[in-house]
């Protein structure tokens, strides 16, 4: 294993543990670590809303800018002051979740293949966020603003690309005029607008964007920032005085960390770190990473254009086009560049039902690395060899808890690419072909690497999504136990509990009529 892969795995493990821990307190839907992107959007909207009010009240003249913000903080602390603090702390929160989101996607190996576009379009957003954040601090025009403005200009002058040192614009009060602050405000609105445009590009290739956190998480985050704004209101430093150097300042380390870095080392070192880091992020997809999974393949004779795969694909990789030879029908077309190879489309396809009598089960859309026909054969073969009082079939996924260790004389275990790949009809088929119960597992809720795998399956099993599990399947005989890679013990316990429950109800006539496709004609 390379150093990079080992490091990535270590960080991934740390993230997984933290996510599991957070699940205990928040539950998966409100777990901030599982919804960092949505939280980032949320903090951005808080910034936009609070910034709109600040824009209304700020006086963009040299003498007025400091005074107007100071007055707002002092005289209107109950509203304008809180909004100002909220604006500052939401910036910090945005930076934190943005960086965590970046590290998490890297740790989970989500930066190459079909995710390359989102990865590459996300990197410039970091620069835009920092440009906007640093510029925002200048508008206050206090000692901190002066320090940051001079430090930033000294950094730019390291390139010697301007015909005069830009820092000369901050040598004395005479060089600063009212238009400077108008320009700053213009930039402080324009750059976030660019950021929003960039965010649109960042997410536009995925369907059902997680653009806002769940209500409880949103309120919790907002109340958290409001409490902070009340406890530690953002205040200005002394007014800027270009004749004096800011000896020591209360800098915002999340946004302005680059200034101490440049002074402690050199401007060249700081630029090397920033630009080198950016180049490294762009180059990461070129480093060795997980081999790309084969993409879904459509079989035109078996595709009836029902659009379910098109609706369920988490990455918008399936589009519908006119069927080549079925008049007035459509056919699913897979965009290989966007396909994650997750197989969720296979679970959505009504042709994936194992009850079909054909010897070879060919479905409308299938995964070449794990065809649905192979799964049916394996299921039939394992069921014929199961023995014991209570026979259970377990369906799991590659990203969740390892189900192969559950295999036993009375338990058949199958690992799918993703839990969402399982057509619900396979559950009924297993029960009719000899299983006493079917245990379904996969990643923890909201922990699916393909976004909606376990979510869609759970909806299909509870009759809320097509194709759904037929209602005559007794709920008693189907159980879901979502378990991540570190939850194997919990899954084992869930299996034992399921077996005990089935045995408790052994006397009840809840068995489905047997079905053997080789002996019973289709449709019976």
């Amino acid at each position: 294993m390379s150093v990079h892969a080992a490091l990535r795995l270590a960080v991934q493990t740390a993230f997984r543990r933290a996510e599991n821990g957070f699940d205990t307190a928040f539950g998966p839907t409100d777990n901030p670590l599982r919804h960092l992107g949505a939280l980032g959007f949320f903090f951005l909207w808080v910034l936009v809303a609070s910034g709109l009010y600040l824009y209304i009240v700020v006086d963009t003249s040299v003498v007025g800018v400091y005074r107007s913000i100071g007055d707002l903080t002092r005289d209107q602390w109950y509203f304008g002051g809180i909004l100002r603090s909220l604006h500052r702390y939401a910036t910090d929160a945005f930076i934190i979740v943005m960086m965590l989101h970046l590290v998490r996607e890297w740790a989970y190996d989500r930066y190459s293949g079909f995710r390359l576009y989102s990865w590459a379009t996300g990197i410039p957003l970091i620069w835009l966020a920092y440009m906007s954040g640093i510029g925002g601090y200048w508008i206050v025009w206090d000692r901190l603003a002066q320090f940051s403005a001079v430090a930033t200009m000294e950094m730019f002058d390291w390139f010697s690309i301007f015909n005069q040192a830009t820092v000369r614009n901050f040598l004395s009060a005479e060089t600063i005029n009212d238009r400077f602050f108008t320009f700053l405000v213009f930039l402080h609105i324009g750059i976030p607008l660019l950021l929003i445009l960039g965010l649109w590009a960042h997410v536009h290739r995925i369907s059902r964007v997680d653009a806002l956190p769940a209500r409880r998480l949103g309120w919790g985050s907002l109340l958290c920032l409001l409490a902070l704004a009340l406890a530690r209101p953002a205040v200005s430093d002394l007014p800027a005085d270009l004749g004096q150097v800011a000896l020591d300042t209360r800098i915002d380390w999340f946004v302005l960390f680059v200034h101490p870095l440049a002074y402690a080392t050199s401007e060249g070192f700081a630029w090397s770190l920033l630009l080198g880091g950016t180049v490294l992020l762009f180059a990461l997809p070129l480093l060795p990473h997980t081999r790309r999974a084969p993409v879904a393949e459509v079989d035109p004779p078996n595709c009836n254009g029902c659009r379910r795969c098109y609706v369920d694909c988490p990455y918008g990789a399936v589009t519908m086009e006119p069927h080549p030879y079925k008049p007035r029908h459509q056919i699913a077309v897979v965009d290989a560049a966007n396909c994650a190879g997750c197989g969720i489309c296979v679970g959505a396809c009504p042709s994936s039902t194992p009850f079909r009598s054909n010897e070879k089960l060919v479905t409308g859309i299938d995964m070449p690395q794990q065809p649905i026909d192979v799964l049916r054969h394996a299921l039939e073969e394992r069921l014929t060899h199961l023995s014991g009082l209570t026979k259970i079939v377990v369906f799991g996924c590659e990203s969740g808890a390892d189900v192969s260790r559950l295999a036993a004389q009375d338990t058949a275990a199958f690992t799918l690419i993703c839990a969402g790949m399982l057509p619900p009809s396979f559950v009924e088929y297993a029960l009719r072909a000899g299983a006493d119960g079917v245990l379904i597992t996969g990643c923890r809720p909201d922990g699916c690497p393909f976004r909606f795998g376990n979510h869609w399956l759970e909806q299909r099993l509870s009759h809320r999504r097509e194709p759904h599990l037929r209602t005559q399947v007794p709920a008693l005989r189907v159980r879901q136990a979502w378990a991540g890679p570190t939850d194997e013990k919990a899954l084992e316990e869930a299996l034992h509990q399921f077996r005990r429950d089935l045995e408790m109800h052994a006397g009840e006539a809840t068995h489905l009529a047997p079905f053997h496709r080789r002996t019973i004609p289709h449709g019976q």
Binding site: F26, E154, A234
Partner: protein
């Protein structure tokens, strides 16, 4: 999720930790840019180096198209600036600053900062803006008393008598 009271307590702790993390690092630890008794001298000037211009003779002017009869003929390239800065007799900066632009016809600019202890200092700055002349055409030397945190700017403006301290 764990039982409800434990989950709520966990959320309070985690939201609190998030707020505390932001609240602390948004203003702490204080960044000490310079020591409390220090001052800053900024050598910052932008000046066009000299050019060796020649006055055209009436004959030469007559040969030119009417719209191009400029009385002086100047080469495009400008002289670099040679600058020296001494503080308390110690050489702090020696540099030759080239004119900007591909043809070296732009302004020559320099910006350097020097951290000093506050108090009295003897500051001497010299500048030559014409390569063909020896010595320094512009000299400024003075004793300055710097207060803590004060910024002394050494600049050049021909309208203010050349080199000056601000």
């Amino acid at each position: 999720m764990a039982n409800r009271p434990v989950a709520i307590a966990g959320q309070i702790v985690l939201y609190g930790a998030f707020a505390a993390f932001i609240g602390y690092f948004a203003t702490n630890p204080r960044y000490q840019h310079l020591e409390a008794d220090q001052a800053l001298v900024k050598l910052s000037l932008a000046h066009f180096g000299d050019r060796e211009c020649r006055k055209r003779t009436p004959e030469e002017l007559k040969q030119l198209p009417p719209n191009m009869r400029a009385p002086m003929e100047c080469p495009r390239e400008r002289s670099p600036l040679t600058i020296e800065l001494d503080i308390d007799g110690k050489p702090m900066y020696r540099g030759v600053i080239q004119a900007t632009g591909l043809s070296k016809d732009g302004i020559a600019t320099v910006y350097r900062r020097f951290e000093l202890a506050s108090g009295e200092h003897r500051v001497a700055v010299r500048m030559n803006d014409n390569l063909r002349q020896s010595g320094f055409q512009h000299v400024k030397e003075d004793t300055v008393t710097l207060k803590p945190a004060q910024i002394l700017v050494i600049d050049f403006n021909p309208d203010k008598g050349g080199l000056f301290f601000k």
